[in-house]
């Protein structure tokens, strides 16, 4: 099929429609407003329901209601708006409801900036809401992956009855790239016989809740969820390795910095510096075993983590995975500033020089 030029955010919306999204609830915020804008025009034409809610809180709770009725529901926002949705996300996880949540990250904390950021890694992977829960977090690094992942996200959500987040940064949402609408492999999904969509001849109502007042009952609910998360960790983990076979300096990055790293690799390699990229595609589950094994390879001398965050957030997961096998250095920017190709090259050179 011929390639088309799509803006990341409108492609997210179109991908969701193609994945059979029934309902979208959202509230505008830069840099993701094209998602609800596109949905408002095109989702009703596809037979779906679009509601611009009065707030982010309302949007995520509408998602809860629609998902509970067995609909494929989605919401999207950007960092501060996603913070507002955390309560709803933990309720979705607690009530085991499938939903797709898009976070087109901008710089923070607080209102921050409308320029791209990656400061929501902890929030996405650790759960910004209360309680023991996990959400699969897919982190695309170009528009093609974004549309593929959005379509897959609905299946993953339905498969595990769990919210799934697609975490991209503002640049991916705002940029134009050629994409192809590829057929996405469909999973064999369980029927939604748990949905509160009418009794349909059954004797009892289905009941959707996240409240289990009896302590033992609540613990066994948690045990069941934990077993489900273990299954997701086993089956859903994804990553990409680029030129890692002989790499001496290993760059770890996701999203836009991973894209910048690809250009840095070219220059480093042309200078005779063996550089590779390890790119987590799922941030949860984090590809811990794969990174641990790679970092243990003798040819790897140093690891350089790069993020659009000044404190370093994925850096914690990188450290946990590398487990002290090799030294780790960090390059981070925040507030909407992106790492440049040149400084990534310089940091990689420096990381290698320190160990040699």
């Amino acid at each position: 099929m011929a390639k088309e030029l799509w803006k990341g955010n409108e492609a997210i919306a179109e991908a969701a429609i193609r994945a059979g999204c029934d309902c979208f609830f959202g509230y505008p915020i830069t840099p993701q407003s094209e998602v609800p804008e596109y949905m408002s025009v095109h989702l009703p034409k596809a037979g779906g329901v679009f509601v611009q809610s009065e707030s982010e809180l309302a949007a995520i709770n509408m998602v809860y209601g629609a998902a509970g009725a067995g609909m494929r529901a989605m919401t999207s926002s950007s960092s501060p708006g996603i913070s507002l949705k955390q309560e709803g996300i933990t309720y979705l996880a607690g009530a085991e409801l499938p939903a797709v949540i898009i976070n087109c990250m901008r710089g923070g904390p607080g209102l921050g900036t409308i320029q791209p950021g990656q400061g929501d890694y902890f929030q996405a992977t650790r759960g910004g809401g209360n309680g023991d829960y996990r959400t699969v977090v897919l982190a695309p690094s170009n528009v093609q992956e974004t549309v593929d992942f959005v379509q897959e996200a609905f299946d993953i959500a339905d498969m595990y009855r769990n919210p799934v987040m697609v975490l991209c940064d503002g640049l991916i949402g705002q940029m134009m790239e050629p994409i192809e609408w590829k057929p996405i492999p469909k999973r064999d999904l369980p029927p939604k016989d748990w949905a509160a969509g009418g009794r349909k001849g059954r004797a009892d109502h289905n009941f959707i809740t996240s409240i289990f007042l009896d302590a033992e009952e609540c613990e066994s609910h948690n045990d069941r969820l934990t077993a489900k998360y273990a299954e997701m960790e086993e089956k859903e983990v994804r990553w990409e390795e680029v030129q890692c076979e002989d790499a001496e300096v290993l760059i770890t990055a996701y999203g836009t910095p991973a894209r910048i790293a690809l250009t840095a690799l070219e220059t480093l390699r042309s200078e005779g510096i063996k550089a590779g990229l390890f790119r987590p595609i799922t941030l949860w589950p984090f590809p811990e075993k794969a990174l641990h094994a790679l970092a243990g390879q003798e040819h790897i001398k140093a690891v350089l983590d790069v993020e659009m965050s000044t404190t370093g957030q994925m850096l914690d997961d990188v450290r946990l995975a590398v487990e002290g096998q090799k030294p780790i250095s960090y390059l981070g920017h925040a507030g909407g500033v992106m790492p440049t190709v040149e400084e990534m090259i310089e940091s990689a050179r420096k990381a290698l020089k320190e160990v040699k």
């Binding site: 030029l5 830069t30 409308i114 640049l171 705002q174 190709v341």
Partner: protein, 226 residues
Amino acid sequence: MSASAVCSHRISIVTGHYGTGKTEFAVNLALALAAEGASVMLADLDIVNPYFRSRERRDLLENVGIRLISSSQACSDADVPALPAELLAILENRDIRGVLDIGGDPVGARVLARFQPKIVQEDYQLIYVLNANRPEVRTAEAAIAYLRGIEATTGLVCSGIVNNTHLCGETTEEEIRKGAALAESVSRETNIPILCHVAEEKFVPALSDLPETVFPITIKMKKPWE
């Protein structure tokens, strides 16, 4: 053909569906006009997009003497829909060659409406940029609907079509020709002439058979890894 012959009016207003490459064309047009010796002002009036706006190329433009007017110079990363009063400098100073970079769609073009009474008194040209790879304007019918929407919103009349069909780094000669065919059918149905076909320098020789001018550009609105 020189840039000042391709876009021969004093004020060139660059409009189109969003994502068609208006800003890339506007920046290249301003640079080409300046290189030909004109005193150029480029106004970034994009109130729709938060990223990839011509104000991001301020240094590049100012280094060659182009004055950049943008809607929020004190806070260029904001998405405040405010318009610069300095825009009047382009409208009132007839020694200036003006390029107006407008945000996408009729929504983005709305910024022009309040200046319409002044613009119509000047030698202006409303330019409609086409990109056949943008799914919402890939047919002549859809492209014309957007064009008419922009005219209705602004109260201005379009008098030139620019074919800017590309696929970012994956552009080929065939893509540009596909856009030329679309531009031709839009032109035939609207009687609006095609001003030029935009192409990176490397494609220019191969496109010499096209009946209209090929306007050579170099990519200025790069992504951080390009």
